[in-house]
Amino acid sequence: MTDPVNEAPRVPSSSIRVMLPYHLRNLAQVGDEITLQVAAPATVRSVLDALEARYPMLQGTIRDHDTLQRRPFLRYFACEQDLSHEPADAPLPDVVAAGKEPLLIIGAIAGG
């Protein structure tokens, strides 16, 4: 498959729905849910790469600037599963890749 304009190979992509915690929605000035175009197969890493490219102010807030390790008090959920400890390059569940379910980035509950 090629792009009719520049004849470069067209990379299949997915529309991934992402829900951010309240404070990061405010920081990025976005609503409850955002949609990102991510090359297939979508993974946690590719979604976060796309997220930070579109909203650079989020760099360092979800994962470390350099190591890209998830910040300790955040979790990745989807389809009622905790994906936080899955490899960052593991494909997301099909329903997330298909845009039917969102990837949730959740802040740990804490009082005070």
Binding site: L27, A53, R54, P56, M57, R71, G107, A110
Partner: protein, 391 residues
């Protein structure tokens, strides 16, 4: 007519308090960044609508934001959306210790609570100090203690690694609140001179724009460290300087109020008749370089005012003789603290003095401390107070 803008950082957001020169009626704006710990808010002295804020969260890390319209709107420097595909993102809010070979320094560890060597770990920005001459230059004092500088209005930050690379660096250790660089003082008469202070390492001075540093702790006596007169290891809480006399420094140490008349080369104790010389804040009157303010706190074990009475003490003689100021302050049952960056003065003809408490009050005096009134009573715990005097 002149106006005053008080910038308040709290545990749950930032607040901006404004008044005209009378300073009797106040407008309160906020919370800005609601829910975030705001360690410090400070404005540029040469572009007064340019404000910087340090917001910190255990969940999301460190964010520095900037306003160019006096706090009406904010943005993350370097965090703007990219102009198009393929554009390289900037390093928004990235504070990375200098480990380059060029420094030639063993910048790898410091002393930890248990006496072992521990890697430096960035935690947060405690203090932001905009340049006195360049609106795009700004310094950041961070935990674990280091000094960073931005020359692009906060888009990117670079460590002045000569400080952390000082030969004493491996001896520095955290105090109970962490190992923070909390004080940065610039000298308008000598752009090459910078003073900083670290808990619990002490005070340092650079005379070459931050390239090299010298500990300036001679005369400090700290009985809680093995060698009470050591070159480093002192828990300096805050340092203040009057801009007209940059050689004269006033220090609130863990215990002891101190003074130096030679740019920190030597210190002498000026606690005099203070009822207790433990405390955190210290500041100098805007027009009287010998008038100094402190808020005595009972002890290092009891961080609240003596006998539940909140009091400011003022010396008009550069220390030793102190007068109690309590007109308008709580007379009893007051058990708040006043943290190290939570006092400031304005530069109106009649100097205004301001301080914030961990109980959420911000008190103001429009007559140099003779009378006090609360501007606000019920904010979250106040972490920092700064003042801008607007033309």
């Amino acid at each position: 007519m002149s106006k005053v803008r008080v910038l308040v950082g709290t545990r749950k957001g930032a607040f901006i308090l404004t008044s005209d020169g009378k300073r009797d009626k106040w407008e309160v704006s906020g919370p800005h960044f609601a829910g975030w710990e705001i360690y410090h808010v400070k404005g540029s002295p040469i572009n007064q609508d340019r404000l910087y804020v340090s917001q910190t969260s255990g969940w999301f890390g460190q964010i520095v934001q900037r306003s160019d319209d006096g706090g009406k709107t904010w943005k993350t420097p370097g965090g703007e959306s990219l102009p198009g595909p393929g554009a390289m993102p900037k390093a928004s809010n990235k504070f990375v210790y200098d480990t380059s070979g060029e420094s030639g320094k063993p910048l790898t560890t410091h002393q930890f609570y248990d006496g072992t060597q521990h890697p430096w770990e960035f935690k947060r920005v405690w203090h932001i100090e905009p340049s006195l001459t360049d609106p795009d230059a700004v310094y950041a004092g961070i935990e674990d203690a280091a000094l960073f500088r931005s020359t692009d209005a906060g888009e990117s930050w670079h460590e002045l690694s000569g400080l952390r690379g000082h030969v004493t660096g491996p001896q520095w250790q955290p105090g109970a609140g962490g190992m923070c660089l909390h004080t940065v003082i610039l000298d308008l008469t000598n752009p090459q001179r910078i003073y900083i202070a670290i808990s619990a390492a002490g005070a340092f001075r650079s005379d070459d724009g931050g390239a090299t540093w010298k500990p300036i702790n001679k005369g400090l006596y700290s009985k809680y460290i093995p060698n009470p007169t050591a070159e480093v290891g002192h828990c300096v809480h805050h340092v203040a300087m009057h801009p007209s006399r940059p050689e004269v420094l006033f220090m609130q140490k863990h215990w002891d109020v101190m003074r130096s008349d030679d740019a920190g080369e030597n210190w002498k104790k000026i606690s005099g008749n203070l009822p207790t010389d433990f405390g955190f804040v210290i500041d100098v009157h805007a027009h009287e370089p010998e008038t100094v303010y402190v808020v005595p706190i009972k002890s290092d074990s009891e961080h609240f005012p003596l006998d539940g009475k909140l009091r400011v003490y003022r010396s008009r003689s550069g220390g030793n003789e102190w007068e109690e100021l309590g007109n308008g302050l709580p007379e009893k049952d007051c058990y708040v603290n006043v943290l190290r960056d939570a006092m400031a003065v304005d530069t109106l003809d009649e100097c205004g003095v301001y301080f914030g408490t961990t109980g959420g009050q911000v008190y103001a005096s429009a007559d140099a401390g003779d009378h006090w009134n609360p501007i606000v009573r019920n904010l979250p715990a106040v972490l920092s107070v700064e003042v801008q005097t607007l033309a």
